[in-house]
């Protein structure tokens, strides 16, 4: 559901705690340092990601990211969708 480039950022943040901390501190700088870039609509989503993530404990965030990543891999479409 997220664009490929945004999903890269979110996945990296899930796997790399330092990148996550950098992202929450200064998203532009963190993206540039990691060699990642996002277009304007994706930046809106990332800003909201940072706002939501800032309000979570590390454990909550871990769980949330894992839930998101695993959940989106399966599509539970039964007949008829």
């Amino acid at each position: 559901m997220l664009t490929e480039s945004l999903e890269k950022v979110v996945t990296k943040a899930a796997e790399d705690r330092a990148f996550l901390a950098a992202l929450l501190a200064d998203a532009d700088a963190a993206l540039a340092a990691a060699g990642l870039s996002l277009d304007a609509p994706d930046r809106v989503v990332l800003d909201e990601y940072c706002r939501v993530a800032s309000g979570m404990s590390p454990a909550e965030l871990d769980q949330a990211v894992q839930d998101y990543l695993s959940g989106n891999r399966e599509i539970g479409l039964a007949a008829g969708g």
């Binding site: 559901m1 997220l2 664009t3 490929e4 945004l6 609509p41 994706d42 809106v44 989503v45 800003d47 909201e48 990601y49 706002r51 939501v52 993530a53 309000g55 979570m56 404990s57 909550e60 965030l61 769980q63 949330a64 990211v65 839930d67 998101y68 695993s70 959940g71 989106n72 399966e74 599509i75 539970g76 479409l77 039964a78 007949a79 008829g80 969708g81």
Partner: protein, 658 residues
């Protein structure tokens, strides 16, 4: 009868009419030639039939009801006579206004031929002239008071006549909603005039203080306008024919829809309105006009106007400070939408969430919680269940709704009889995180706003999934043709929701959210065949092949409407497209549906995009069948949607009852 016993408005209407009838009978007996008697008898017979059916114009009861409010006497003689005089004037206006009284106009035309209009106008004058002797005959009030009362009425009658002239002239020119609201305010001056006449008499009899008169006048004005707008709505949406549309009048709901519709939709509605003026086509285009007016918020805007006028009337009545205002208050009942819904919010009540227009009384207050989503869906299903049962269908009693934390999609699992909503619980960390997919999809800046967008889609998605269940339960679910299955359930869902109060105002927002979702999803996945899955070939030619520009297509549309021919044939004849292009459009359409069948369900973003795009197509389809017909075709008969359709909606053949 005492005040405690009270009188029903219908009884008061009958009493005032009987008073008028007896008075006019006396006049006719002594003075009127046979032909005038014949006309008045035709007219009075129509009113008597309406009264037998419980129908009457509430404003004519203003004086009688005021009499009961002030004296406790349900049929206070002087004020009942004022009511009868007011009714005489109203019937006079009706005689002149074909639209208000086409049944009698037709009878007069049949009887008097070319002289009909003059006969009607002369008979109307006889009714206007019936008022003075009516008041004098009541007794108890002197000539000067009768004179003052008639002057008060005549002053307002000029406003009414001015409004009638505007009303009759409205057929010759287009006017906006603000203009129509002014016309209604003017032409319902008869309500104000009747109240003024009544308050002059009541003041003379010592029953009213001067300070009470202005609020009573404001009450009458608001009531009169509310009744007129409600009557316009009833005619547009509740009658087999609309005299207003035949006469080219754009009542408030129509004018608002024209103002709110996007350019292309507005031009289509204009064309349909022109068709509605032709007697042979009126019935055929009326359902489409209703759908367009609903879709562009015209019906809801008019309903809200009626609600506002009713609230103003109620407030004015309070300000009048009558000891027993109930008889006057009762006149508001037929137009008091809030009271009919059983809800009268206090002024301090905060506005409802914008998406929750479809009634959901059992929803917990925490927006975005799992309970909130389930409560909304349960209410939607309960309403659907009722609507289906009334039509002889049934959902499985065990059909359940759940939220599924694994996926942001909605689906129906026919093995478990479960409608699953991919709506995250915003009260949890994981849920808020998952709602970021809504942010990406809808393009809203925050999780909360994106959840509001998702909330707007919930009724449509829930009913769509329940429609899969219904088709499964009745043995017509298609597991091999995704396009057929999704299209049929979309039609069922949209046609059902269009029967729900409140949906017409919600639908434009739902369409806007679906379009945003399509744009958002197209950032993740590229699908080039969505527009070719449309079941109208001309739409494939225009939107998928770009074979003709929009404005050229619009011209073809106009010609097709005029000629009552399929638009593709028209485009071919006018040389706008070639036979090869039409053949290519058919090929693209077949290929697109085949790809839809193969790819639907294969990838999350792709599936969501196909689903959202198809739903949006359904919401703009102007000849979608009504819910009963959709049930018949897609549940009873298991038809595949998308048979060739003409662009001009044709009268539907009567169908066998279940």
């Amino acid at each position: 009868m005492t005040a405690a016993a009270g009188a029903r408005p219908l009884d008061q209407a009958r009493a005032a009419f009987a008073h008028l009838q007896s008075h006019v009978a006396g006049l006719v007996e002594s003075a009127a030639p046979p032909l005038l008697r014949e006309v008045l008898e035709l007219h009075f017979a129509r009113v008597a039939r309406a009264l037998s059916a419980g129908r009457y114009p509430p404003v004519v009861l203003l004086p009688t009801a005021l009499g009961e409010a002030l004296t406790g006497e349900p049929f206070q003689p002087q004020l009942t006579a004022v009511g009868a005089a007011m009714w005489a004037a109203t019937l006079g206006y009706d005689l002149i206004d074909d639209a208000a009284d086409h049944e009698v106009a037709a009878a007069i035309a049949a009887r008097f031929g070319a002289a009909a209009e003059g006969v009607a106008a002369t008979a109307a004058m006889a009714l206007f002239d019936a008022a003075p002797p009516l008041l004098l005959r009541a007794g108890g009030i002197d000539d000067a008071t009768v004179g003052a009362a008639l002057v008060a009425f005549a002053t307002r009658a000029w406003s009414t006549i001015g409004g009638q002239v505007e009303d009759l002239a409205a057929s010759s020119r287009a006017a906006g909603s603000a203009h129509w609201a002014r016309v209604v305010a003017a032409k319902t001056g008869v309500a104000r005039g009747g109240m003024d006449m009544a308050t002059v008499v009541a003041r003379k009899l010592g029953w009213l203080e001067p300070r009470q008169v202005p609020p009573l006048a404001a009450f009458a004005e608001a009531l009169g306008a509310a009744v007129q707008h409600q009557s316009d709505l009833d005619e547009l949406f509740g009658q087999a024919q609309s005299a207003d549309l035949t006469n080219g009048k754009r009542v408030y709901a129509v004018a608002r829809a024209l103002e709110r519709a996007p350019e292309r939709a507005r031009r289509r509605l204009e064309l349909l309105l022109e068709r509605a003026r032709m007697p042979a086509l009126h019935a055929a285009v009326l359902p489409s006009i209703r759908a367009e007016v609903r879709a562009h918020g015209g019906m809801m805007a008019a309903a809200l106007l009626v609600a506002r006028l009713t609230a103003e009337a109620r407030l004015a009545l309070r300000q009048a400070g009558l000891g027993s205002p109930a008889p006057l208050e009762a006149l508001l009942a037929p137009v008091d939408v809030l009271a009919q819904l059983g809800a009268r919010p206090a002024a301090s009540t905060p506005p409802s969430p914008p998406a929750a227009v479809v009634a959901t009384p059992n929803v917990p207050s925490v927006f975005g919680s799992e309970g909130y989503w389930l409560g909304r869906a349960h209410d939607v299903l309960a309403q659907l269940r009722g609507a289906l049962e009334a039509r002889g269908y049934a959902l499985d009693p065990d059909l359940a709704v759940v939220t599924d934390a694994r996926t942001p999609y909605c689906y129906y699992d026919h093995e478990r009889r479960v409608v699953s909503l991919g709506y995250p619980d915003l009260t949890t960390a994981s849920g808020r995180f998952r709602a970021l997919t809504f942010v990406a999809m809808f393009g809203d800046p925050t999780v909360e706003q994106a959840a509001r967008s998702a909330d707007a889609l919930l009724p449509l998605l829930t009913v769509h999934e329940a429609a899969h269940h219904l088709r499964h339960r009745y043995g017509v679910l298609s597991t091999s043709e995704a396009w057929v299955e999704e299209h049929a359930t979309n039609i069922l869902a949209v046609s059902y929701l269009r029967t729900r109060p409140g949906w017409s105002d919600e639908e434009p927002r739902v369409l806007e959210v679906l379009r945003r979702a399509r744009r958002g999803l197209e950032r993740s996945v590229e699908v080039d065949y969505v527009d070719a899955t449309h079941d109208d070939l001309d739409e494939v030619l225009v939107h998928a092949m770009h074979a003709v520009p929009e404005h050229v297509y619009e011209r073809a549309w106009q010609v097709a409407l005029r000629e009552r021919r399929p638009v593709v044939d028209t485009m071919l004849e006018l040389g706008m497209v070639s036979a090869e292009q039409v053949a290519e459009a058919k090929r693209l359409q077949r290929a697109a549906r085949a790809r839809f069948d193969r790819e639907y369900g294969s990838d999350p973003a792709l599936t969501a995009l196909l689903a959202m795009a198809q739903l949006a197509v359904e919401l703009v389809d102007r000849d979608l069948p009504p819910f009963d017909e959709a049930l018949h075709r897609y549940v009873d008969r298991g038809e595949a949607p998308g048979p060739p359709r003409s662009l001009v909606p044709l009268p539907r053949e009567p169908e066998k009852k279940r």
